[in-house]
């Protein structure tokens, strides 16, 4: 066996409280990385995954100290080295690629210049040699026309291109190891799939080792040779990716895998009860014992050791035992015949032509959202999917009265118009439509107690006050499975999942007919996401309300929706019953999205169709997907808006290509993915 490139031995680190108590963030961690190997580190927020990755390159976030153990990089004991030497080593042989490349690049310097600076720092090349090397690096990260890219500023590149430029910069120093901290989180699915394929081939080509930190097992499955699963600052399972993902040993890994929604099996997934122990708390027993479905009394006696099982290491003495089956429960459709909401040919435009534009008779830009039309039945869930900029949130804002419509009509089931913005709607109309926000953290006022937050809509819509409001708020908390004592707590005292539950409770305080869910689970950890989806489904069953569920995650939308609309550049490409939209024939854009989905399965490879360029504005005429479509049939795509092709069961595809051909193409993709 080759000597490991990085080795951490029994590493414990954390912060020291004022009273001298040591609060550990990593607890006795040992991990190795061989040269040229890709190690995936997964875990939920607060598990210490980023801290481990940084510690592997001898870096500590401020305020943290090493309690015990060593981190050895290429034969150097990193924490024993003087700061200066450590910095030099870090810059030249290990490079960090952060989550948000757009923020890591200097906005005022051209890309070429930034890479040149990195070369100056790490190599002894002359100016002429460097300028050649810059182009070589840009070429290596597969950016089109390197000469052109080198002359651009970071904001002139798309998100995916920025990420590639950051990789080029990291490669400037001949790094032996790359540390990637959630590098694709926040990118669109198609872009993410492209970047991952690129990183895979790069690692192979250059033989660099990679440490890849992510919360997304689908991503890890695609890039990592080996995976380490973190929980409460400890390694709970570690081994070859295939073994860990195919036959997880630790109950936590099993639960995590079970709570990830998959395209193939729609339904509400089992979720793990409870929350992980607080960061830095003292542990005297298995950290997962409180949430474990297989817990024994022995589990509470001490922290179990990391034991070898086959190719893996597992921190659970009962790992081999047969685990209870995790089954998803199929959603029972609650759709009634009556309508809850209808959109007819709605257009929304944020940009109004200014006085100057009108004088110059400039043509009006194409509206952000156009020709949006659908019917939402009572008790139905309509999923809206699409990448960032697809206009899905804009449609929600228009329905909620936060963005004015330019054209078309929005009506509630009984004909009540929703065309007016919030200020023009009466209180009763407002009550009937409620919204749940993406980021529960930002949607709850930090200065209000949970009770105050829940009582605001009760007072506004029903005039409830005092004890009556109090009692109703407690009922709402109970409906979202939170104890009544949370009434006096403040948002900062709640976990992410709990905050989102409060957000849901606040929306249901109004007893709405239509609830707008804007990426409500995208900020949550997967184990918590499953619980939030289950909660929404249960509330729908109990209250018979309708949902419009916006998400960029196709699998999540599949899990909760009766019908699905696929949006691109603010135009609906395809709409229909979920099982029809998720099966051929596909709209070419739907097919692109389906191909890019990553499942936590080491054998599933994405099929990359359209390129990952990002478009800032919809085209003025023709099909919205014309510029990226791989199946365009000719100038008709640029000039004429495709007419809807109505297939069976209300499945509609907006494309010039006959459905028969789309069917065949879709079947080919299915075969390729299987």
């Amino acid at each position: 066996m080759t000597e490991p490139l990085i080795k951490i031995e029994d590493l414990s680190l954390g912060f020291t409280a004022k009273n001298g108590r040591q609060a550990p963030i990593l607890r006795g961690l040992s991990l190795e990385l061989a040269p040229g190997e890709t190690l995936g580190i997964v875990g939920e927020s607060g598990s210490g995954k980023s801290t481990v990755a940084l510690a592997m390159m001898g870096y500590l976030k401020s305020g943290l100290t090493v309690f015990r153990g060593r981190a050895i990089f290429d034969g150097n004991d990193m924490f024993a080295l003087p700061e200066k030497q450590r910095t030099r080593l870090r810059g030249s042989s290990i490079a960090l690629i952060p989550q948000n490349a757009g923020q890591a690049l200097t906005p005022t310097l051209k890309i070429g210049r930034q890479i040149d600076e990195a070369l100056q720092l790490h190599t002894a090349l002359s100016a002429g040699e460097r300028s050649i090397k810059v182009l070589e690096l840009l070429n290596r990260v597969r950016l089109p026309s390197p000469e052109d890219i080198a002359e651009r500023y970071p904001h002139e590149l798309s998100g995916g291109q920025q990420q590639r430029a950051a990789v080029a910069m990291a490669l400037a120093g001949n790094a032996k190891a790359l540390l990637l901290d959630e590098p694709t989180t926040g990118l669109d699915v198609t872009t993410q799939a492209h970047i991952l394929e690129f990183l895979r081939s790069l690692a192979k080509e250059l033989g660099v080792a990679m440490i890849y930190v992510s919360h997304d097992l689908g991503v890890i499955a695609r890039v990592a040779d080996r995976v380490a699963v973190m929980y409460a600052g400890m390694l709970v399972e570690e081994g070859p990716t295939r073994d860990v993902l195919r036959e997880p040993n630790h109950p936590y890994t099993r639960g995590l895998l079970a709570s990830i929604p998959r395209l193939g099996e729609p339904g509400i997934l089992p979720s793990m009860p409870g929350v992980p122990p607080a960061v830095g708390s003292d542990l005297t027993a298995c950290a997962f014992a409180d949430r474990c479905p297989q817990v024994r009394s022995l589990c509470k006696d001490g922290i179990p050791a990391l034991e070898r099982r086959g190719n893996c290491r597992v921190r659970c003495p009962y790992a081999g035992e047969h685990a209870p089956e995790h089954l998803s429960t199929r959603r029972v459709p609650q759709v009634q015949h009556a309508r809850a909401l209808e959109l007819q040919d709605v257009a929304v435009s944020y940009r109004r032509p200014g006085l100057l534009d009108r004088w110059l008779k400039k043509p009006e830009p194409a509206p952000t959202v156009d020709r949006a039309g659908f019917v939402l039945k009572k008790g139905e869930t309509l999923g809206l999917v699409g990448e960032s900029g697809s206009g899905k949130s804009t449609i929600l804002r228009a329905i909620a009265g936060l963005a004015g419509t330019r054209k078309g009509g929005i009506t509630l089931g009984d004909g009540e118009s929703l065309n007016a913005p919030v200020a023009g709607r009466d209180r009763e109309t407002l009550r009937r439509v409620q919204m749940i926000f993406q980021n529960a953290d930002a949607s709850l006022n930090p200065r209000q107690s949970i009770g105050e937050i829940l009582m605001a809509p009760l007072k506004l819509y029903f005039g409830l006050k005092g004890a009556e409001a109090q009692a109703r708020a407690e009922e709402l908390l109970e409906a979202v499975r939170l104890p009544a004592r949370y009434m006096s707590r403040f948002p900062r005292q709640l976990s992410g999942g709990e905050k989102q539950r409060v957000g849901v409770a606040r929306a249901f305080a109004a007893n709405p007919e239509v609830t707008l869910c804007d990426e409500v689970t995208s900020a949550l950890d997967v184990s918590v996401q499953a619980a939030a989806l289950a909660l929404l489904t249960r509330l729908q069953r109990e209250n018979g309300c309708s949902y419009i569920f916006v998400s960029h995650d196709l699998a999540v939308v599949r899990a909760v929706s009766d019908r699905v609309a696929v949006l691109y550049q603010g135009r609906i490409c395809e709409i229909g019953p979920a099982e029809q939209v998720y099966a051929p024939p596909y709209h070419p854009y739907t097919q692109t999205l389906m191909g890019a989905v990553l499942e936590p399965d080491p054998d599933a490879a994405p099929v990359l169709l359209a390129n990952d360029m990002s478009e800032m504005a919809p085209p003025a005429t023709g099909c919205p997907f014309q510029r990226r479509c791989t199946k365009r049939i000719g100038p008709v795509c640029d000039t004429r808006t495709p007419l809807p092709q109505v297939l069976d069961a209300g499945h509609v595809i907006h494309c010039h290509i006959p459905a028969q051909h789309l069917q065949e193409a879709g079947e080919r993709l299915e075969a390729e993915l299987a």
Binding site: A400, G401, L402, V422, R425, R427, L430, Q434, M435, F437, Q438, N439, A442, S443, L444, N445, P446, R447, Q448, E452, A456, P457, L460, R506, A510
Partner: protein, 280 residues
């Protein structure tokens, strides 16, 4: 509140700021018990004495005890500027939150007016108003309060705009809450920290402004003991009897530094970004 004070006092700069501010407030409040002489009593026998055992800071041209005058000298300035700072923070804060929340055209037009006020040479303007309205607290307090309130407005409006874009404010708007509940329940509680720090900073600047007015003869009127006035009266003798100028200057600047340090420490203890609480 106690916890906040403890956090402030735990850092040397915060402790110094808190100490200096409290020291000066105590001095002003307890002046009759601290000052050994009547601050206005003239004495022909003790003209321009250098600091000695009975006159710790010496005496001035009219034979008055400089120490006693320094101790009394903050009373008027502190009272006037503190009241004005409260007024400035209240009206500037309210207007700032209002315009930051409402946004759009109303905000756009209001800000042009604010720009106009901010671009005025305020000291000259102040002198104009005082020469019309007469020098006295009743003219100075509202004038200072108004002008400094404009600056408070600008800062608070910026913070309010950022806050108004947060989802919980959007949620309240989408719910159909009226303007007043949004201002008072969603916005104000999240901006009160900034208002506190901003108010304290303005107070320290006003102290300097008031002393400048007194120095120019538009603030305190003789024979009132006042730091700015003392410097004005004794400045001719700076080379022969520097104590008459030195001590009031030192006291004034130590109070201003104290308030600044305190405001900084309060901001830090409340977790505010320094950038949101800078003086314009």
């Amino acid at each position: 509140m106690l916890k906040l004070l403890a956090t402030i006092a735990s850092k040397p700069s915060g402790a110094l700021g808190l100490g200096l501010t409290l020291f000066h407030l105590a001095l002003a409040l307890l002046a009759p018990w601290i000052a050994p002489f009547d601050p206005t009593a003239q004495n022909a026998d003790t003209i321009l004495l250098a600091p000695n055992a009975s006159h710790l800071m010496g005496t001035d041209t009219l034979g008055r005890d400089v120490f006693s005058r320094v101790v009394y000298g903050g009373r008027l300035a502190i009272a006037v500027t503190f009241t004005a700072a409260v007024i400035a923070t209240l009206w500037g804060g309210f207007a700032g939150i209002f315009f930051g929340t409402v946004g759009g055209r109303v905000d756009e037009y209001a800000m042009r007016v604010v720009d106009a006020f901010l671009s005025m040479p305020w000291l000259l303007f102040l002198l104009l108003i005082i020469s019309i309205g007469g020098a006295g607290p009743l003219t100075i307090i509202p004038t200072l309060g108004f002008f400094y309130g404009v600056a408070v407005l600008r800062v608070v409006r910026g913070a309010a705009m950022q806050l108004a874009a947060r989802d919980f404010v959007t949620a309240a708007k989408a719910r159909g809450e009226a303007l007043w509940p949004i201002l008072s329940r969603e916005m104000f509680p999240n901006l009160s920290d900034i208002l506190l720090v901003e108010g304290a900073m303005r107070w320290s600047w006003m102290l300097l402004a008031f002393s400048s007015l007194s120095f120019l003869g538009f603030g305190a009127t003789p024979p009132t003991p006042d730091w700015g006035l003392m410097v004005a009266q004794e400045r001719g003798l700076l080379s022969t009897a520097p104590w008459g100028v030195f001590w009031p200057c030192l006291t004034l600047s130590s109070l201003i530094i104290g308030i600044n340090l305190l405001a900084d420490a309060v901001g830090k203890a409340l977790g505010l970004d320094r950038a949101t609480a800078v003086a314009v």
